[in-house]
Symmetry: C3
Subunit: 278 residues, 3 copies
Amino acid sequence: MAIITLTTDFGEKDHFAGAIKGAIYSELPDVRIVDISHSVAPFNVPEAAYIIQNAYSSFPKGTIHVIGIDSELNPENKHIAVKLDDHYFICANNGIMSMICSEIAPQKIVEINIHDRVGTSFPVLDVFVNVACHIARGGTLEVIGKLIDHIKPIKNLNPFVNDEKNQIIGSVIYIDNYGNVITNIKRKFFESVQKTRDYEISARSYKFKTIYDKYSDVINFDIPEDKRYDEGKGLVVFNSSGYLEIAVYKSDNASVGSASSLMGLKVRDTVTVNFSKL
Amino acid sequence: MAIITLTTDFGEKDHFAGAIKGAIYSELPDVRIVDISHSVAPFNVPEAAYIIQNAYSSFPKGTIHVIGIDSELNPENKHIAVKLDDHYFICANNGIMSMICSEIAPQKIVEINIHDRVGTSFPVLDVFVNVACHIARGGTLEVIGKLIDHIKPIKNLNPFVNDEKNQIIGSVIYIDNYGNVITNIKRKFFESVQKTRDYEISARSYKFKTIYDKYSDVINFDIPEDKRYDEGKGLVVFNSSGYLEIAVYKSDNASVGSASSLMGLKVRDTVTVNFSKL
Amino acid sequence: MAIITLTTDFGEKDHFAGAIKGAIYSELPDVRIVDISHSVAPFNVPEAAYIIQNAYSSFPKGTIHVIGIDSELNPENKHIAVKLDDHYFICANNGIMSMICSEIAPQKIVEINIHDRVGTSFPVLDVFVNVACHIARGGTLEVIGKLIDHIKPIKNLNPFVNDEKNQIIGSVIYIDNYGNVITNIKRKFFESVQKTRDYEISARSYKFKTIYDKYSDVINFDIPEDKRYDEGKGLVVFNSSGYLEIAVYKSDNASVGSASSLMGLKVRDTVTVNFSKL
């Protein structure tokens, strides 16, 4: 049974996601549809890129991922289907795939060219569903598009290293549901620059000299629970997706606050890492 | 395999939608349940009517649509099941079906009368699930209700035309996830009044003389991207559901703003179309 | 076909819930995954306890409930699997199960001990999915954990009765999607203290002397609709889950207001019931 996932900025309220599912089940009664997210901020391509990158690889090989963000066809925004890591991705060529593709080379990219055959007032419904069902039935990408060899990049995807190799200049790429602040600095990249040096991480006026393995490592469990004052303290971890993340233990934007709200950090803010001399 | 869809105002957090799904799977292990929306504003019947109208027809014939909005049984709020366009709808008789029924005549309407047989402290769980499973098993509407011949109307569903036939007076019926402002003026109706005349659309102090085919038609792609100033401009389209919609290209309430936030337009506001002399 | 439900504080936007689903389908292609809620407030254990208690029992016996709230493993937060009422629950031992367990004795509790075999940077993905799939394949709890005999309690779960047995002192445990204010006073408990006495319910300066059977019982349907002034009035019901609830008829936080917003009631506020002399 084929799996089709949905990642969109349709929100939780409108009829769009429901209509998509109805259209897929009308074509393929036995397919399995899985929502990854419909709450990507409208037209927020980097956010969608982060979400799909970190969700797709849990799914079985052969899964088809429909990404409905900024998908209106126009001279600067073509539709593509990408085979990568034995998964299929259907989306606009607007940068969404560049985060995944910067780590894993695509096996095949086609620019979808079935638009003369299908109406397009709602491209995800009319075009992407059509392509997804074609792939789910075992169809090849060449039938629905022409081969191209590269995709549109996203800006500021990667952090910079200075010439002296003693500083990484990264930036915030995502704020998660807990208000955790996720940077574009991945563990492997960090370690390749760090070697064995000490480091200091800076975000606005906040400084951190430890990267924890998990959030609760900030807590000293030898101190009785009512005498601890660590819970609101900021901390840094590599998160479960491997990104350097500034967090607050047990944070919640709506009550106790979060790394984002308490430290005033937001997407595109700079985060730097300074390494000591060897 | 039967499909049962859910459209409710239960929200994303509470246990209600989960409990409904558990109850359906307990009766019918092989049914397919599809969420259309659980984020209809509480008790907002017109909003639910718009959502279900635009989602249902993507689903296969025979699909059963459970609509849980304002469904407490009382002397003024009966439960109905409607067969229309070979789909089934189960809801309160509170106007939700009047938007769909104004376009397509129902094949059959029954007022549900099984309440003496089932408890009703949670009518969607106790009554609607029961009826949905009955229909999914091939049962007829007459077994669970008595035939009636019309449903409760919704107010202000349709726009007005003045006596001179040179003005349509419509209103805003829905604000979508992008902050787009959707009116009750449908394309077919618009064109039947317009004939070949020029037009001017007015909403508050904003005027529009063009209805675009799609959102990005407002952009002049011949101008280099960094010299364009069109992105924040308002525009009018017929949306993918055929409704006249005031939009802003790539809008987002939380960042750049939207037609609703930037123009101060909200549900029930008046939108007029003035036609020139022939 | 096994059913696995998900109740988490992952929110609607992030990739976490999608990744979990992908991991489960990768192990068990034919399982059915049902979302109960991903919008529990971050780290809000009492909220999760209320939601899972009121959703689980609609599902068929044998259903496996994964609860991902505050699930990072640390010296004070172990992972458990519980069999209760012929359902399975997988969660951290942080109080989530104490609301259900206060009413129904667990059949079996194990502390999960497979952590040396699986990585844990994302425990719900790495540990809970593993355990859920083990149970879904018919595996026993003893294989993935060691038997323990009680679970961590939650504070302020139950209301108090004074020595004179003429007052119940309860508190608000949950605010639902309609802004209804739900207390920890259950119908059975209320009636066991009440016997046949009259009562007065107090919350801040608001007093109620009637508990209705359903919300619309506050409305006098004999009065014409345009002459009624009951709609914004507060009322008390036992809700569909059996809890004493302070509500406003047809409430909506975002428009007309709700019991929570209009009366200023929030979680942990005190609600008292005073009984008259017999």
